[in-house]
């Protein structure tokens, strides 16, 4: 199975997490307070795998009969998924009590979904992508409805499942067409035949169907319909995972499957498709977010518009674009985890305090939370010196380098619109006076998660250089 120890090492992250899942299932079976053990076990597990992946970033190899690649940017994605999941777990510890769903399997499902994400990022074969995607998605469907007693959660879960299955249908059909024309599912072989096959209508349809399927997963317009309802109905911590880990994994899958195209410059074939959905997503997300009153729905539309910025990086079709996408995904993950994290901390029992107007005067009672949320909002709005700004800068730079200045211009115009709704929250928290007091229970593990996010946002915003070098060295 492995030719040498080196290969074994590079596959170790997946082995560890798979073993972790088995251990967790055993603990869940026999321990009474499994939810407490499993939460901290998961935090530790994700931390270890994340660090291990970062440490092993240099050792690139392709293993398991050309099915899985490791090392390089794949490991950056590994680390990103695991740190995302770690922060989500930290936020969940107190949240699950409020949400009335103290189940150990919650953490097992998160671990499973992370394994799926890692497979997607590591894939060298269309089937591995599919395997990872389904592993992740099935875990997600269950997580959305983890509290069986809540109608809204069940609705979100079902909606997610139906549209997810629909998207999977597109992807499978796309894979079938690609296999039919290219006679292989190996990504390397498909890439080498890409130019030759690009005249073949069936092949191109296959690629497009494949991309459309993933457009659902990254929440791009016009494949976004599930996003607001699912984000609103799911537990807040799980919405955080959907909007960060799920989106990152889908982008990782697009990047690995099209990577050869980006580096060879053959990506121009899919550029029109990407440009169109990127512009539509940015503007649709920003404009509709303006009129939202529920904070989770607002963040859902912001997620759609951010998918648009990220697609600009893909449409640019050069290595800068890919580096920009990876950087912005990291920044976006941190900002969104922070924003959803605060939502989950402020949310009270029975899903109260989720209206944007509930945040009025927050700076008086909870200056720390208000300050942190402001930083997350400014970063999402792309204002320096936070990480969100640099991510956008790099993506726009990639677009201008590949002579798509119009995408950068449309991108900044959409940013201006989005500033309004991000700042609306800051306005409410700081500029409105209210005598209504939110009751917020103590949540130390959640605060830890927020501090990690905010620290990284500031560091990545002021000193993006070293992380950028790591990304660039892997491309």
């Amino acid at each position: 199975m492995f030719n040498n120890l080196q290969e074994f090492y590079s596959f170790l992250p997946m082995i560890i997490i798979a073993a972790g899942i088995l251990v967790s299932v055993t603990v869940e079976l026999f321990a009474k307070k499994s939810v407490v053990y499993l939460s901290w076990f998961s935090v530790l597990l994700f931390f270890v795998i994340g660090m291990f992946s970062l440490y092993n970033i240099e050792s690139k190899s392709v293993i398991l009969q050309n099915m899985v690649a490791t090392g390089g940017y794949v490991n950056i994605f590994y680390a990103l998924f695991n740190f995302t999941a770690m922060i989500v777990c930290l936020l969940s510890i107190e949240y699950l009590k409020k949400y009335d769903a103290p189940f150990g399997e919650y953490y097992i499902l998160i671990q499973t979904s992370v394994l799926g994400m890692m497979l997607m990022a590591a894939a060298k074969d269309l089937f591995v992508i599919f395997l990872g995607l389904e592993l992740m998605s099935v875990a997600f469907y269950v997580l959305a409805g983890i509290n069986r007693k809540r109608g809204s959660a069940i609705e979100a879960s079902l909606k997610y499942f139906l549209l997810g299955a629909f998207a999977t249908g597109f992807i499978v059909y796309g894979i079938a067409l690609i296999y039919g024309t290219a006679q292989t599912t190996s990504l390397d072989l498909i890439a080498s035949k890409f130019i030759e096959l690009s005249g073949n209508l069936l092949f191109i349809s296959g690629v497009l169907l494949f991309l459309i399927g993933f457009s659902f997963k990254i929440a791009a317009f016009p494949f976004h319909m599930w996003v607001p309802d699912v984000y609103q109905g799911s537990p807040s911590t799980i919405s955080a995972l959907f909007s960060t880990g799920g989106k990152t994994a889908a982008f990782a899958a697009i990047i690995v499957s099209l990577f050869a195209l980006f580096t060879s410059g053959a990506s121009k074939i899919i550029t029109p498709y990407l440009s169109v959905i990127s512009v539509l997503s940015m503007f649709f997300g920003s404009i509709v977010a303006l009129s939202q009153t529920n904070i989770k729905r607002m963040l859902a539309y912001s997620s759609i518009s951010n998918a648009g910025y990220l697609i600009i990086g893909l449409a640019a079709g050069n290595t800068e674009g890919i580096a920009g996408v990876i950087f912005y995904l990291t920044a976006y993950t941190l900002m969104n985890l922070g924003a959803f994290g605060i939502v989950s901390i402020i949310e009270s029992k029975e899903e109260k305090n989720l209206e944007i107007s509930d945040y009025a005067g927050l700076s008086n009672n909870e200056p720390l939370l208000a300050g942190l949320l402001s930083i997350f909002m400014f970063s999402l709005a792309g204002i320096p010196p936070f990480a969100g700004f640099f991510g956008k800068y790099y993506i726009f730079m990639a677009a201008i380098k590949s002579e798509m200045t119009f995408l950068a211009i449309l991108g900044v115009l959409s940013s201006v619109i989005s500033v309004y709704f991000y700042l609306r929250i800051v306005v409410l928290m700081y500029f409105k006076k209210t005598d209504y007091n939110l009751e917020i229970s103590k949540n130390n593990s959640g605060m830890l998660a927020l501090f990690i996010s905010v620290l990284l946002i500031i560091i990545l915003g002021i000193l993006p250089g070293s992380f950028l070098n790591i990304i660039n060295s892997t491309l």
Binding site: A323, F378, I383, P384, P385, F389, Y393, Y394, F396, M397, I400, K401, T405, A408, I409, V412, L413, S415, V416, V419, Y420, L423, V427, Y430, F431, K432, L463, P464, G465, L468, N469, N472
Partner: protein, 510 residues
Amino acid sequence: MENNFLLTYLIFIPLVGSLIILFVKNDKIPLIKNLGLFFSLVAFIISIVIYSQFDNHNSDFQFVHKFKWIEGINVFYFVGIDGISLLLILLTAFITPLTLISSWSNIEHKVKEFTFFMLLLETGMLGVFASLDLFLFYIFWEAMLIPMYFIIGIWGGKERIYAAIKFFLYTMLGSLLMLVAIIWLAVYAGKITGGFTTDFTELINIAPTIARDLQIWMFLAFALSFAIKVPLFPFHTWLPDAHVQAPTAGSVILAGVLLKMGTYGLLRFNLPLFPDATLIIAPYISVLAVIGIIYGALVAMVQTDMKKLVAYSSVSHLGFVVLGIFAITTESIQGAVIQMVNHGLSTGALFLLVGVVYERTHTREIADYGGIAKVVPFFSFALLFASLSSIGLPGLNGFVGEFLILLGSFKSGVLNSWWFTVFASSGVIFAAVYLLWMYQRVVFGELKNPKLEKLTDMNPREIFVMIPILIFIVWIGIYPSTFLNLSEKATKKVIYQVNNPVNILNNQSK
């Protein structure tokens, strides 16, 4: 080149101060105020040291501090100043402690946040004037919005939220297009010389080679951002709202320094980077500037609110500055630079004085006042002084700037028409009308409003704030050479750059 850390200390001392204040307990208000004042005074002292070491005869950037900041995109932390930026840095470091003292008693709630944001703002403003890398410049330019937004939004008047958001969105729209232009320039530089760069001192040799049509687009992208900030007519509509709603300290900083960032940007970046476009567009922008001069003055004339009147007078006065910049003669640009300082002093003083009476009476309506000359003699004296300075009475600072601008624009070969000067001059007359008329209605006449009888004159703290400003108003009026000498070399260099754009392609072929 040897790195000089003085500028870096100057820029980041207020930031350090603001972070320290963050860790002081909320209720230790005197400590917070003193810390804020201390750090802004340290910054002021450093700026004086920089001034004393500045070499008038050197047209290069001085006090340069440069190191690689973000390797992947070749961005440098690169600061340095010439005479133009020095004057504005001195102005910033001078005004900030004064505004902190002036808001000693009228900011009562959230003192900690206020001081924090004021110091943050100072770092942003100083950074804008010192940055020589466009990326760094942009970071300061944008980051500065956040504290100003909070200052207007938290401590402002009734319509503060509307004003704060309007201010933010307007500025953001302009600056994001500038961001695209900055990236485009850097990519262009990468194509010409093989190295992606946002270094201003390198771009200045590369950007003028851009084809004329594209240069015009680039010019407009930069100019829009700066014109909104100035604000140039017709982009001025955010200004009255922001000014009127902002607390006194906010208005003073806004008028004193923030608006100058726009005119500074035009002078520093637009002229030398896009010389061909500058020569083509200069007359059009000058027309807008002249319209702004007259429009601002006329609208100021009919205001019933003192603060609004001063706000519209800013539109008019900054029209002069823009006209001076785009007349592109030594006199006019020198006049524009000194007028930036003048406007900061005189309008700053006017806003402070309006704030003084507003704090006591809680009204800014001109009609509510009248006949207070006997009740508050020192206030009346100071208001007269500041108004005359703003009008441009010979012997005071405003005259020097406006005279040089009008002289320069009259001679200007770029504008090539004396109509600009004729119409602009009318602005001076209008200024006399609206300011003196306001003065007459507020200070002279009979004391009709019985509440005003109990009005107390300026207290020692307020006088202490006003005196240094008045000293500089007279100093610049009587002996402007102290200040004009500082910026002369830099001004001549800009004019040379516009008229003799470097052609890197020719240089290479030689």
